[in-house]
């Protein structure tokens, strides 16, 4: 291990501590307030942590719920990405297509995804199809819009430069428009995975035939008055969202548009 890697690890470690510190403060005060009786009906962090360990290791419940959710998320989000980038690209390249779809898109984008769920429950049933479609709808519009915006705002000089260098339509798309659009597309994908994740939790709660899933876990806890389990679920949903946003999408941005100086380091 050389000096620079050591420095880098040290820097990352510092950043991590910086990030975690507020959580420690909240947890400590939460624990104290519950212990001295200032907060009632809310379980203390210590109790929640023990419950978390129990469902993780003793009964394997958590893993099954998370697995089911992640499986749905991957399918729905993957479809949203493929079709969203596809439509967004067409809209970015062809003015006639963007004029046709833009008004519809801006209307649809304003509808909260959860509002679709009742419609989906009737048309697609009470199972996985509904949940996956909700995830898809959650991500699709943001991805389509950010792709279109990214392609439309690629600097004209970059396109002209490629043309003088003998670029044809295909190479222009793959070597200029697509990488040039990443500055909008990647933040769009990042936003979309957050929307999809939220849609997933909501739809799992409402789809009656769904038995497993992190949203279902919380919803079912209601029947047993199991407030502890609800809180554990909430925290896990938050954590998973954070991991998807920071660790997955944030790292992708760091290695691409941030490294290329297309956005400021953040």
């Amino acid at each position: 291990m050389n000096e620079t890697t050591k420095k880098l690890i040290k820097k990352n470690f510092k950043e991590l501590l910086h990030f975690l510190f507020p959580f420690f403060v909240v947890i400590i005060f939460w624990e104290i307030f519950v212990d001295i009786g200032l907060i009632t009906r809310v379980p203390a962090p210590y109790t929640l942590f023990m419950r978390f360990l129990q469902i993780t290791f003793e009964k394997n419940i958590l893993t099954s719920h998370l697995q089911a959710s992640i499986y749905r998320l991957l399918i729905g989000y993957f479809l949203a990405a493929i079709l969203g980038i596809g439509l967004g690209t067409l809209m970015g390249i062809k003015k006639s297509i963007s004029e046709m779809f833009s008004p519809v898109l801006s209307l649809l984008i304003a509808i909260p995804t959860i509002a679709w769920v009742p419609v989906l429950l009737i048309t697609l049933g009470l199972g996985d199809k509904t949940v996956i479609t909700a995830i898809f709808l959650g991500g699709f519009f943001a991805i389509a819009y950010s792709t279109m915006h990214g392609i439309k705002t690629v600097n004209k000089s970059l396109i002209n430069a490629a043309k003088t260098m003998g670029s044809n339509n295909k190479s222009l798309f793959f070597h200029v428009l697509l990488p040039g659009s990443l500055v909008s597309l990647l933040p769009g994908l990042r936003l979309a995975i957050g929307y999809s994740w939220r849609a997933l939790v909501g739809a799992e709660m409402l789809a009656a035939l769904v038995k497993w899933g992190i949203g279902k876990m919380i919803y079912s806890a209601r029947f047993f008055n199991d407030v502890e389990l609800m809180f554990v679920g909430l925290i896990i949903i938050g954590l998973a969202g954070l991991i998807l946003d920071h660790l997955v999408m944030g790292t992708i941005e760091k290695w691409t548009i941030e490294r290329w100086g297309m956005i400021q380091e953040g």
């Binding site: 600097n155 000089s157 970059l158 002209n160 430069a161 490629a162 043309k163 003088t164 260098m165 003998g166 670029s167 044809n168 190479s171 070597h175 200029v176 990488p179 040039g180 990443l182 691409t256 548009i257 490294r259 290329w260 100086g261 297309m262």
Partner: protein
């Protein structure tokens, strides 16, 4: 044979670039004539400078030669073939550099060769040669955003030369640089031009830059843009900015320009 004061016609077909009765209008609401009755010939290996006040259409003329825009009337020929669209027989250097931020210096320079399906190893070799020529060896793996303006434009020049275009079109390439860097870049460009002997069409509004670099300076009028006169710069290279002859040529061009600059200021109300 030869050239009259308006420029321009070379009666043989030997000229590299041949522009006849060129006119360009833009209509955004009302119609604006950007260029009118442009006739000019640019010879092979010539360093031609288009000079004029801002808004005179000199960049538009360059964009037409590049094929980014289409003429409203008239024709532009390169090697006797009418220009219809951008292609790799013309290299273009942009004022805003137009480098690909996601490509390293090396990969920016190989872009044109990749489009020609040059084998990878050969493309890298060629690119390195030109990167060296513009004085950037050692920076092959750097990303553009880490470079200074002057260095970025060196990449821009290497990238436009590497695939051997017939003509190099330069749109105020040093306009975004500070005065010191600009002077330095002019010297280096002249060096590069001496080595490659390309036909260059260079757009600028700096008279000094024009006199320093040009074989011939085409002075343009403001709105609509026409060629007002052609000044031969018959001075040995490299030129000295303070030399008497240099200053004489500069004076001559300034006289041609003066009324035009006033006109363009009136029109824009600055």
């Amino acid at each position: 044979m030869g050239y009259d004061t308006r420029g321009i016609m070379n009666m043989t077909n030997k000229s590299k670039i041949q522009i006849r009765n060129l006119e360009k209008t833009f209509s955004t609401g009302k119609t604006v004539t950007a260029l009118k009755k442009i006739n000019l010939d640019i010879n092979d290996n010539e360093f031609a400078v288009l000079l004029g006040p801002s808004g005179c259409g000199k960049s538009t003329l360059l964009y037409l030669i590049a094929g980014f825009e289409k003429p409203t009337k008239g024709t532009i020929k390169l090697d006797n073939k009418i220009i219809k669209k951008p292609d790799s027989d013309r290299g273009f250097v942009f004022q805003d550099f137009a480098l690909y931020p996601w490509r390293t210096v090396l990969r920016n320079v190989t872009f044109g060769l990749e489009m020609k399906n040059t084998p990878k190893q050969k493309a890298i070799e060629e690119a390195k040669k030109y990167i060296k020529m513009v004085g950037l060896d050692g920076f092959e793996d750097a990303y553009p955003h880490t470079l200074s303006g002057g260095m970025k434009q060196r990449v821009g020049i290497a990238r436009a030369l590497v695939y051997h275009p017939e003509v190099l079109l330069m749109d105020e390439p040093f306009g975004a640089l500070d005065a010191q860097t600009r002077k330095h870049m002019q010297m280096e460009l002249e060096n590069i031009w001496e080595q490659t002997k390309k036909t260059v069409i260079f757009v600028t509004h700096s008279v000094i830059e024009a006199v320093y670099l040009a074989d011939r300076v085409f002075v343009m009028t403001a709105r609509p843009g026409t060629i007002k006169g052609v000044v031969d710069v018959d001075l040995p290279r490299p030129r000295n900015y303070t030399d008497d002859k240099f200053l004489n040529v500069r004076e001559k061009i300034l006289n041609l320009l003066e009324s035009e600059v006033e006109k363009s200021l009136e029109l824009t109300g600055e």
